[in-house]
């Protein structure tokens, strides 16, 4: 953990605070519809499956697969200097929601679509933990 963290610090919107609070406690929070069981991400105030307002935050199992990914070979932000190449992925959680993250703990040329992964929290600063994914 370091407070000279050089990567971008996310600026949460009002609807996404439960996600970031959950991450601090190493819980991967997503939204679920109490009417149709649909899960989704990023946050909103309505079920994206059926339109219901009857929604809640739940903890995901953190298990999923890589839906797709890219590997950055070019530096776009100084905070990633020395981290290239790195994999950015769309993760499909087993509950069905998809979210952007990094695949870590594996050489980038071994990342594949549909590869099983699970969440691992990276404590970036004293106030920020990021959900990342590693192969199962």
């Amino acid at each position: 953990m370091s407070d000279d963290y050089a990567k971008a610090i996310p600026v949460p919107g009002p609807e996404s605070l439960p996600f970031w609070e959950g991450a601090k406690n190493h819980q991967l929070m997503i939204q679920k519809c109490s009417d149709c069981e649909h899960h989704w991400f990023p946050p909103s105030t309505v079920c994206t499956g059926c339109g219901s307002r009857n929604i809640e935050w739940v903890a995901s199992s953190g298990k999923g697969t890589v839906f797709s990914f890219v590997v950055f070979h070019r530096l776009y932000h100084k905070g990633w200097d020395g981290a290239i190449p790195y994999a950015v992925a769309v993760i499909e959680l087993e509950e069905g929601a998809r979210m952007l993250s990094n695949v870590i703990g594996v050489p980038v040329d071994e990342v594949k679509c549909d590869m099983p992964v699970e969440v691992i929290f990276e404590d970036a600063t004293s106030d920020l933990s990021l959900p990342k994914f590693k192969p199962v």
Partner: protein
């Protein structure tokens, strides 16, 4: 349920097309470049700013109500004007909106255009250059992206390319066939920015940027503008150029998100094409050429599939067969496109689509016996699509 609409078919026309200087044009604003393109389009039609009563345009996205900025600079009061914000799908949609506005009795002669000073902005300072963007960072999301090192349109499009490769066995060589084909077209376009031949070896040797995309999968950074003039097919008969009829148009916006469902491999072009074909009363087999929005190679491949020029999943084989050449199955981006001519977010695709039907080119660039063409626009964080089907009068 959308009911097919046909009453607009062949009723409105593109009567002039033009662009500004293309490439590195330092010291000129996006507005200045757009004026240059608009005046060239009006000259092409034999009209002046005094004939214009509609203005649909777009410029740098952080400029508030851009059409007002342009109206003031051009000295135009408009009975209909607006600024569009569908990203790269805006420019093709602007032509559709112009026809709709004239049909609704809200305007009679509409200028449609887009201008950008992207090369100058990206090269203005080190920070913009590193981000590869001329847009202020605040215009992008501040969470669920940058903290994971996710930057640039290249990565979003790269997700689609990677998933397509996984699902259908599409290869980088097939993406390369698109880059090579468009470069060959550019070599016959004296205005194109890229002047040197590109081989498959050059493509495969290009430095990797965001895998699966290398340098030659990416469109150019450009200072440039394009514009067209839309009026009734009736009035078009008295103007300078051979009119180009608007046969049909459509839009399809998968705004539930690029990450949602199979939107990465089945794009808004499916719906947009369906609407446009129905309005025009034609199908993919009737199209003589295509001007396809090519921000990245993959988007050409997937749109060709989604417009029905080949089957889903067979876009790779299709482009590798030589289909995109002037004598191929679907001559595509005959000016060199955004990969090799200049990147004006679809506006130059409209200009080239018009010029092919004006029949102004020599045999090195003219699609033989061109009567019907398709123009696509794509953008808005990868999910918006607009389509035009144009026909010779």
């Amino acid at each position: 349920m959308i009911e097919p609409s046909t009453h607009l078919r062949d009723k409105y026309a593109l009567v002039g097309a033009g662009h500004s200087r293309l490439g590195k044009v330092p010291g000129v604003s996006a507005q200045g470049l757009l004026e240059e393109a608009m005046l060239n389009a009006l000259d092409d039609a034999g009209l002046t700013t005094q004939d214009v009563d509609g203005l649909i345009c777009r410029g740098p996205d952080e400029i508030y109500t851009f059409h007002q900025v342009m109206g003031e600079r051009l000295g135009i009061d408009a009975s209909f004007s607006t600024t569009l914000t569908n990203g790269g799908a805006s420019q093709v949609m602007g032509v559709a909106l112009a026809a709709m506005a004239i049909d609704a009795g809200m305007a009679s002669c509409v200028l449609v255009g887009y201008g950008r000073d992207n090369w100058s902005r990206v090269h203005a300072n080190k920070e913009n250059h590193m981000r590869g963007s001329g847009r202020p960072q605040q215009m992008y999301g501040m969470e669920f992206g940058p903290e994971f090192g996710y930057y640039g349109a290249i990565a979003a499009h790269g997700f689609g390319a990677q998933r397509h490769m996984h699902d259908y066995g599409t290869t980088r060589e097939q993406f390369g066939a698109i880059s090579v084909a468009f470069r060959n077209h550019a070599l016959n376009n004296p205005d194109a920015v890229m002047k040197k031949p590109l081989t498959m070896g050059d493509y495969l040797g290009g430095r990797m940027i965001v895998e699966p995309f290398s340098l030659f999968d990416c469109s150019l950074q450009t200072d440039a503008a394009g514009a067209v003039v839309v009026t009734s097919a009736e009035r078009a008969k008295d103007l300078r150029q051979k009119p180009v009829l608007i046969k049909g148009f459509g839009t399809g916006n998968n705004i539930s998100g690029w990450f949602n469902g199979n939107n990465m491999t089945h794009t808004g072009a499916i719906q947009s094409g369906k609407t446009a074909y129905a309005m025009a009363g034609v199908g993919p087999e009737d199209i003589d050429y295509a001007q396809i929005y090519d921000c990245f190679t993959y988007m050409v491949l997937v749109q060709l599939e989604d417009y029905g020029f080949c089957k889903k999943g067979e876009g790779g084989e299709f482009v590798a067969s030589g289909a995109l050449a002037l004598d191929g199955a679907m001559p595509t981006n005959t000016s060199g496109g955004q990969l090799s001519e200049a990147h004006v977010e679809g506006m130059l695709q409209v200009v080239e689509g018009v010029r092919q039907l004006q029949g102004i080119y020599g045999p090195e660039r003219q699609v033989p016996k061109a009567e019907i063409g398709l123009v696509s626009g794509h953008g808005g964080n990868t999910v918006c699509e607009s389509t035009l089907i144009l026909g010779a009068a």
